[in-house]
């Protein structure tokens, strides 16, 4: 069997979010469950219909267990593969295989984090990571992770291709302009290129405005076989392609700092979908840092290697630009609760359903969501489409 046979065989039938921004007073599990309830209700299902579960967390090594327990699930399919922020896009393929084989009928993919307001703060987590995810050939040099890793990649992109800090800033400004069209986005104040350049430097060449937000938030979606999906409440959003690639964990082990494994995940996902970049109407790229967006525009084939700086210039990916990218405001301006991947899927689904109000991309038929995890380490690409694209 070719993966091509899985094209369009599964569809997302419900999405939900909770605790986006500040979930003060709630635990990560509580907002995860609220997002799950919303996704299940959005699909017109009940929690009893869910017989597959995919979830993971940075803060718990056995996270699928308490999630199944809390939601009262007895899943016949469980995936808790932890690849960092790309995880919830990478969870698509095993879920599709499980659905296609008949192992289960409705998979809930869910995530929640209270990294902003919770007791397990970002600082505590960063200290814990040094023990549970040791990087013995990096930690002694005190890189501020993750920003320094991405800053190193940015330094290389600037060196090799003449990319400028102003071009990096364009990515943050575009994200903010989209966020201003999204009432749910956390950061909606005006932001100029000068504001980004003049904000506090974190790890050169990245300022605090080149870095994603630190927020709370939970997201969930429900995936079903296409023939079942058509019977549900919402317009199904079909998975046309999905692929995941991992080449390294540490930034110091990356072969080329300006070429990520997204070149592989993107190619495989496009092959499965039988599509090319120019077919895509709306794009979501995991923008943990401004350099990410440039790297992924190139690696996924939206522009040639080295040319993403020019591609994003003069509002190239902002509202009204040449390509709508990160229309919810992205990790830079909408929401970023530790791992952001699931929100890329949710925004792709909403765009294809036409639910996006002021930020709606006209006639959106094909959406791409690209997740990144670790420090440019794991890459997962998904391509979604409406019924007419099957």
């Amino acid at each position: 069997m070719s993966l091509r046979n899985l094209r369009g065989k599964s569809a997302i039938v419900g999405v939900g979010e909770a605790g986006v921004g500040d979930a003060h007073g709630f635990s990560a599990m509580e907002i995860l469950a609220q997002a799950a309830i919303r996704a299940v209700a959005d699909a017109g299902l009940t929690m009893q219909d869910i017989d597959g579960l995919a979830t993971c967390s940075s803060a718990s090594s056995m996270w699928a267990l308490p999630v199944a327990e809390y939601l009262g699930l007895r899943p016949q399919f469980i995936d808790s593969t932890m690849l960092g922020g790309s995880s919830f896009i990478a969870h698509l393929m095993p879920a599709m295989l499980a659905l296609e084989s008949g192992q289960c009928n409705a998979v809930l993919v869910c995530y929640g984090s209270t990294q902003k307001t919770g007791t397990f703060s970002r600082k505590a987590m960063s200290d814990a990571f040094k023990l549970i995810d040791p990087l013995p050939y990096e930690h002694p040099y005190q890189p501020m992770l993750p920003p320094t890793a991405y800053a190193l990649a940015a330094s290389r992109h600037m060196h090799e291709f003449g990319t400028t800090r102003a071009q990096l800033a364009e990515v943050a400004v575009a994200a903010r302009r989209w966020a201003q069209l999204n009432p749910q986005a956390c950061m909606r104040d005006p932001l100029s290129i000068e504001d980004v350049l003049n904000s506090r430097m974190i790890s050169t060449p990245l300022t605090v405005r080149d870095c994603c937000l630190v927020t709370d938030g939970a997201g969930a979606f429900v995936l079903m076989r296409a023939e079942r999906a058509r019977a549900e409440k919402q317009k199904p959003v079909y998975v046309l392609g999905n692929a995941t690639a991992v080449w390294n964990r540490q930034i110091s082990s990356m072969e080329e700092l300006t070429v990520t494994a997204a070149t592989e995940s993107g190619q495989r996902a496009f092959d499965m979908a039988g599509l090319k970049p120019s077919d895509v109407s709306v794009v979501g790229l995991y923008d943990a840092f401004t350099i990410n967006t440039l790297l992924f525009l190139e690696d996924l084939g939206f522009c040639p290697k080295g040319e993403a700086g020019a591609f994003v210039q003069d509002g190239g990916i902002a509202p009204g630009g040449r390509l709508p990218v990160n229309t919810n405001g992205g990790g830079l301006s909408c929401v970023h609760p530790g791992m952001y991947g699931i929100f890329l899927v949710i925004e792709a689904v909403r765009q294809l359903r036409g639910d996006c109000g002021a930020r709606q991309v006209k006639d959106a038929k094909i959406a791409l969501a690209h997740g990144n995890g670790g420090t440019l380490s794991s890459q997962s690409t998904a391509i979604f489409g409406l019924e007419e694209t099957l």
């Binding site: 040099y141 005190q142 890189p143 190193l152 940015a154 290389r156 974190i202 790890s203 050169t204 110091s252």
Partner: protein, 138 residues
């Protein structure tokens, strides 16, 4: 030229032991001849399991650089670099004896071993500085 057949400790420990003796050694695969960093029990290029410990030349150049900013005015900014070693491998490190903001991609570097928190650590200095103030790196 020691081979990696120490029965009592793994490559991580062997690397540290060499550093403690003042030697910066990296592995080279017997099968494909490529150098390997960080130390491993197999070659990530070809899967070979015979890896020899070679004395590193210590010569390298800045491949990528980021200055981590400390509190303004405290002089605590420091440069984190990826160094391309002459042997064709890359490692994270610090550049010492140099204004962190003066570190540039392509700058030639020379390795030296310092002690940090009771452990030996490979750092780098601009190549000329090493010759004048530190002597040849070991």
């Amino acid at each position: 030229m020691t081979t990696n057949d120490h029965s009592s400790s793994g490559p991580d420990a062997v690397f540290q032991d060499y550093l403690a003796q003042g030697e910066f050694r990296i592995q080279q695969c017997d099968s494909c001849s490529r150098h390997v960093f960080y130390p491993r029990v197999l070659c990530p290029h070809c899967g070979g399991t015979r890896l020899a410990w070679r004395a590193a030349s210590g010569h390298g150049a800045v491949y990528a650089c980021s200055v981590v900013m400390g509190k303004p005015g405290t002089g605590t900014d420091y440069a984190v670099v990826l160094v391309a070693l002459q042997e064709g491998v890359r490692m994270m490190s610090h550049v010492v004896d140099c204004d962190p903001h003066a570190v540039k991609i392509g700058m030639p570097l020379q390795a030296l071993i310092i002690e940090k928190e009771g452990k030996p650590l490979v750092v780098f200095a601009p190549e000329k500085l090493v010759e004048t103030s530190h002597g040849a790196a070991r």
